[in-house]
C-alpha cells in the first residue's frame, strides 16, 4: 500500500491518497477525470500540484477537501478517512471566495463564532496584521483591490488555525507583481506556522518557487507523471543553477508530453 | 415520472385545500372546485368560452403589439441619447407607478365603452415597462462592444442594428415576457370596467347577473391558465440558441 520509496513511519504522514479515481457522468458518457492518484504528504510539507488547465487539479483538491466523493480510492488524513469538509482544513479560493457583504475583519472572523468576544477580536487583529491589511479592517471587499481581497481570504483561512491549507490557484487573477509579493508572504506565514499546504497551480515557476515537492499531473485523465523534489532552502535564489535546472526539467517534461 | 408527480402535487394540494375549505368552512358563496370545473365545461359547450377568450386575446394583441412597436424606438432613443433620458426619464418614472386602472375612467370618458378604451389601457400598461427595459438594456451594452463597432467603421444606424440590438436581445425578451404578463393582467381588469365581452367581463357579469360564483371562479381559472400558456410561450423564445450566450455564466447553483 505504501508508495515506492516510502519508508517513513505512520506518524510522519499527514495526508494519504490511495488510488484516487474520479469519473464524471456527462450526457450519458463516462468522463474519467482522475486516474489512480496515490500520494503521501508529510506534516508541514508544502506540496504543489501542477498541471495544465482543465486537467483535473481542482477536482483533486475538491476530493481531498471533502467536497466530492471519489469514484474509487480514498483520502486519509491523520489515518482517518475524509468524508466531508472540515474546519481544520481550509480552502483558499481565488479572491472571489471572500463574502462581499462582510467587511474585511468580519470576513476574517467568520469562522470564529464559537470563541469569546475578546479572543475573537484579538485573533482577527493578529491576522489582519499578519497579512498587512491594517487600516482596511472596516472596508468592504468591493472597495479593495484583488490582491487585498486575496489577503483577506488567506487571513480568514489562517484565523481558523487549520492543520492544512488547500489553495486553488489563489493568485491566478492577480497581476504578476502582486503575485510575487503574495508568494513571498505566503512563504513567510508558512515558515512561521508550518501548516501542511496543498497548492494547485498551472504556473511552473510558481510551483518551483514555493514547494518542497511538485506533483506534476498529466492531461485528462490525470495521473501523476512525476514528483519533483525541490530541496532548495528558502529564500530561493531565482537565478541559481539549481532552481533553473529544476524548472527546465519540469518544462521539458510537460513540453514533451504536449508535442503532437 | 417522479418529477411530474411532484410538480402537480402543489396544485393538487391547493385544489384539495380549496375543496375542504368550502365543504367544511363557514357557509359561503364560493363554489367547490368541481362546480367550477363544470362551469368551464358549460362555457365550452355553449360557445361562450371561445367567444370571450377570443375577445380578450384580440385586445391584448392589439394593445401589446402597439406597445412593442412604439417602445422599441422610444427606448432606443432614450438609451442612446443621454439628453433624451435626462429630459424624459423622470416623467416615465413618474408615470410608471400610476396604475393603468387609474386611467380607466379617463379612457372611458374619451373613448367610450368599447374595445378602443381597453386597447388604449393595455397599450399604456405595456408600453412603459417595455420602454424602460429597452432603455436600460441599451445602457448595459458594454462600452467595449460599442468601441469595437466604431473601430470597424460602423455608423450610428449600423451600430444600433449590428451591435446594440443583438446585445439587447436577451434582456429584451425577458422584458417582452413581463410586459405580456402585464398586458394580460390589465386586459382582464379593463374588461371588468370598460367593455361587454371577454374573460374579465365574464367574471363581472356572472356575479351581477345572478351570483353565479361558479362561473366567476371558472373565469379566474381560465385567466390563470391562459396567462400561464402565454408566459410559457415566450419563455421558449428565451431558450433559442441564438440567445444562449447570455446565460453562459456557469459557477452558480447548488
Amino acid at each position: 500500500m505504501n508508495s515506492p520509496g516510502e519508508t517513513a513511519p505512520q506518524a510522519a504522514e499527514k495526508l494519504r491518497l490511495t488510488d484516487l479515481t474520479v469519473t464524471f457522468e456527462s450526457e450519458g458518457k463516462q468522463v474519467p477525470v482522475l486516474d489512480g492518484i496515490s500520494l503521501t504528504v508529510a506534516p508541514g510539507e508544502f506540496v504543489c500540484i501542477l498541471g495544465p488547465s482543465g486537467c483535473g487539479k481542482s477536482t483533486l483538491l475538491n476530493v481531498v477537501g471533502g467536497f466530492l466523493r471519489p469514484t474509487a480510492g480514498k483520502v486519509e488524513i491523520d489515518g482517518r478517512e475524509v468524508t466531508g469538509p472540515d474546519p481544520r482544513r481550509i480552502f483558499v479560493f481565488q479572491e472571489r471566495g471572500v463574502f462581499p457583504w462582510l467587511t474585511a475583519e468580519e470576513n476574517i472572523g467568520f469562522g470564529l463564532d464559537g470563541l469569546p468576544r475578546e479572543e475573537r477580536r484579538e485573533r482577527v487583529r493578529r491576522y489582519v496584521e499578519l497579512v498587512g491589511l491594517q487600516g482596511f479592517e472596516r472596508a468592504f471587499p468591493h472597495e479593495l483591490s484583488g490582491g487585498m481581497k486575496q489577503r483577506v481570504e488567506v487571513a480568514r483561512a489562517l484565523a481558523m488555525n487549520p492543520d492544512m491549507l488547500y489553495l486553488d490557484e489563489p493568485f491566478g487573477a492577480l497581476d504578476s507583481i502582486t503575485r510575487m509579493t503574495l508568494r513571498r508572504e505566503l512563504l513567510r506565514i508558512w515558515e512561521a506556522e508550518r501548516q501542511t499546504i496543498l497548492f494547485v497551480t498551472h504556473d511552473i515557476e510558481e510551483s518551483v518557487q514555493l514547494a518542497d515537492r511538485v506533483v506534476v499531473l498529466s492531461q485528462r485523465p490525470a495521473r501523476i507523471r512525476r514528483v519533483v523534489e525541490v530541496a532548495i532552502p528558502h529564500p530561493r535564489d531565482l537565478s541559481s543553477r539549481q532552481y533553473l535546472d529544476l524548472r527546465d526539467s519540469i518544462l521539458a517534461e510537460i513540453g514533451l508530453a504536449h508535442q503532437v | 415520472m417522479r418529477k411530474l408527480l411532484l410538480s402537480l402535487s402543489g396544485l393538487a394540494a391547493l385544489v384539495v385545500a380549496w375543496d375542504l375549505a368550502v365543504r367544511f368552512g363557514p357557509p359561503t358563496l364560493l363554489p367547490l372546485p368541481a362546480a367550477a370545473g363544470r362551469a368551464i365545461l358549460e362555457l365550452a359547450a355553449n360557445g361562450l368560452l371561445l367567444r370571450h377568450l377570443v375577445a380578450s386575446l384580440y385586445r391584448v394583441t392589439w394593445g401589446y403589439l402597439l406597445a412593442v412597436l412604439l417602445a422599441l424606438p422610444v427606448g432606443l432613443f432614450l438609451g442612446v441619447y443621454p439628453a433624451g433620458e435626462r429630459a424624459f426619464g423622470p416623467f416615465l418614472e413618474l408615470l410608471r407607478p400610476i396604475s393603468p386602472l387609474a386611467w380607466i375612467p379617463l379612457a372611458i370618458f374619451w373613448l367610450g365603452i368599447g374595445d378602443l378604451a381597453a386597447v388604449a389601457i393595455i397599450f399604456l400598461a405595456s408600453f412603459l415597462p417595455l420602454a424602460l427595459t429597452v432603455k436600460n438594456g441599451v445602457r448595459r451594452v458594454p462600452a467595449v462592444h460599442l468601441q469595437v463597432g466604431r473601430n470597424f467603421g460602423l455608423g450610428e444606424r449600423e451600430l444600433v442594428r449590428k451591435v446594440i440590438l443583438p446585445a439587447l436581445l436577451p434582456q429584451l425578451i425577458v422584458g417582452l415576457r413581463l410586459a405580456l404578463g402585464i398586458a394580460w393582467l390589465v386586459v382582464v381588469a379593463a374588461e371588468m370596467l370598460a367593455v361587454n365581452s371577454g374573460l374579465g367581463f365574464l367574471i363581472v357579469d356572472a356575479r351581477n347577473a345572478g351570483n353565479r360564483y361558479d362561473l366567476v371562479v371558472a373565469g379566474m381559472v381560465l385567466i390563470g391558465l391562459v396567462g400561464l400558456v402565454l408566459d410559457l410561450g415566450v419563455r421558449r423564445l428565451e431558450r433559442l440558441p441564438a440567445l444562449r450566450w447570455a446565460y453562459a455564466d456557469g459557477e452558480t447553483g447548488k
Binding site: 468592504f140 | 382582464v188 396567462g227
Partner: protein, 256 residues
C-alpha cells in the same frame, strides 16, 4: 455614466415639464373642452382636498392598506421563496401554483375577496397581499438559486451546519436580488391599492378617483388623485432604491 450630474439633471426635466404643462394648457383652451381640466384646475383641486382635510387622511388610508398587505406578503413570501430556492422538491411543487395564480389580476379576485371578507379594509389588504407575494417569492427563489457555489463550499468548510449556512451565507448573498423583488412588489402593491379601493371602500386615493367621477364628473379631482398616486409611488420607489445602496447590499448592484 452621465457627466454633469447636478444642473443638467434637474434643469432638463424641469424644462420639459414646463413645456408639457404649457402644451396641456394650450390644448385645453384650443379645444374648448368642458370636461378635461387645465393644469391649474388640478392644482386648485389639490388645494381643495387639503382644505377639506381629506388629503392626508386619504393618503394615509391608502398607505395603511399597502403597508398591511405588503408586510404580510413579505412575512410569507420570503420564507416560501427561501424554501423554493433551497429545496428543489419544494420548487417543483410550488412553481406551478405560482405560475397559475400570477396572471390572475387582483381585480379578478375582487368578487372572491368580497365573498371572503365582505366589503372592508380586509378585502383590499387581501388583494394587495396577493399581488405582492408573487414577485417576492420569485425574486427570493432566484436569489437563493444564484448564490455562487463557492460561498456554500466556504460555509461548509468552516464547519457551519446547514441552517447556519442558510442564515449566514445564503441569505446575505441573496439579499440584493431579494431587495429588487421587494422593490418591484412595493410598486405593484401601490398600483393595486388603487384598483383595490375601487371596490367599495370609502376612503383612499383610488376611492377618490372613482367617487369624483361618479359623484359629479370632477375630472380635476381625478387628475389630482392620479398626480398624487404618481408622486407617492415615485417616492416609495426612491426610498427602496436608497436601501439598495447600503453597503451590506451595495455590492450586488454594481455594474462592472
Amino acid at each position: 455614466m452621465r457627466a454633469p450630474k447636478d444642473r443638467g439633471a434637474v434643469l432638463l426635466p424641469l424644462l420639459t415639464a414646463v413645456v408639457l404643462l404649457g402644451l396641456w394648457q394650450i390644448a385645453v383652451v384650443l379645444t374648448h373642452t368642458k370636461v378635461f381640466p387645465p393644469p391649474w384646475a388640478v392644482a386648485r383641486a389639490l388645494g381643495e382636498l387639503a382644505r377639506k382635510g381629506v388629503l392626508l387622511s386619504y393618503i394615509g388610508d391608502s398607505l395603511f392598506r399597502v403597508a398591511s398587505g405588503y408586510l404580510l406578503a413579505l412575512a410569507m413570501g420570503i420564507p416560501l421563496g427561501l424554501a423554493m430556492g433551497w429545496y428543489a422538491g419544494v420548487a417543483l411543487a410550488m412553481n406551478p401554483v405560482v405560475q397559475v395564480l400570477r396572471p390572475i389580476s387582483p381585480l379578478a379576485w375582487i368578487p372572491v375577496s368580497i365573498v371572503l371578507f365582505g366589503v372592508s379594509n380586509l378585502a383590499t389588504i387581501f388583494l394587495i397581499f396577493l399581488a405582492a407575494i408573487c414577485p417576492i417569492v420569485v425574486a427570493t427563489m432566484n436569489g437563493v438559486r444564484s448564490v455562487p457555489r463557492m460561498y456554500l463550499q466556504a460555509g461548509r468548510n468552516f464547519g457551519l451546519r446547514p441552517a447556519a449556512v442558510l442564515a449566514r451565507v445564503v441569505l446575505p448573498a441573496a439579499l440584493p436580488q431579494i431587495l429588487v423583488g421587494l422593490r418591484i412588489a412595493l410598486g405593484i402593491s401601490w398600483l393595486v391599492v388603487v384598483a383595490a379601493e375601487m371596490i367599495a371602500v370609502d376612503s383612499g386615493l383610488g376611492y377618490l378617483i372613482i367617487d369624483s367621477r361618479n359623484a359629479g364628473k370632477r375630472y380635476d379631482l381625478v387628475l389630482a388623485a392620479i398626480f398624487l398616486i404618481g408622486v407617492i409611488g415615485l417616492a416609495l420607489d426612491l426610498l427602496t432604491r436608497r436601501i439598495e445602496r447600503m453597503p451590506r447590499v451595495r455590492w450586488g448592484f454594481r455594474t462592472d
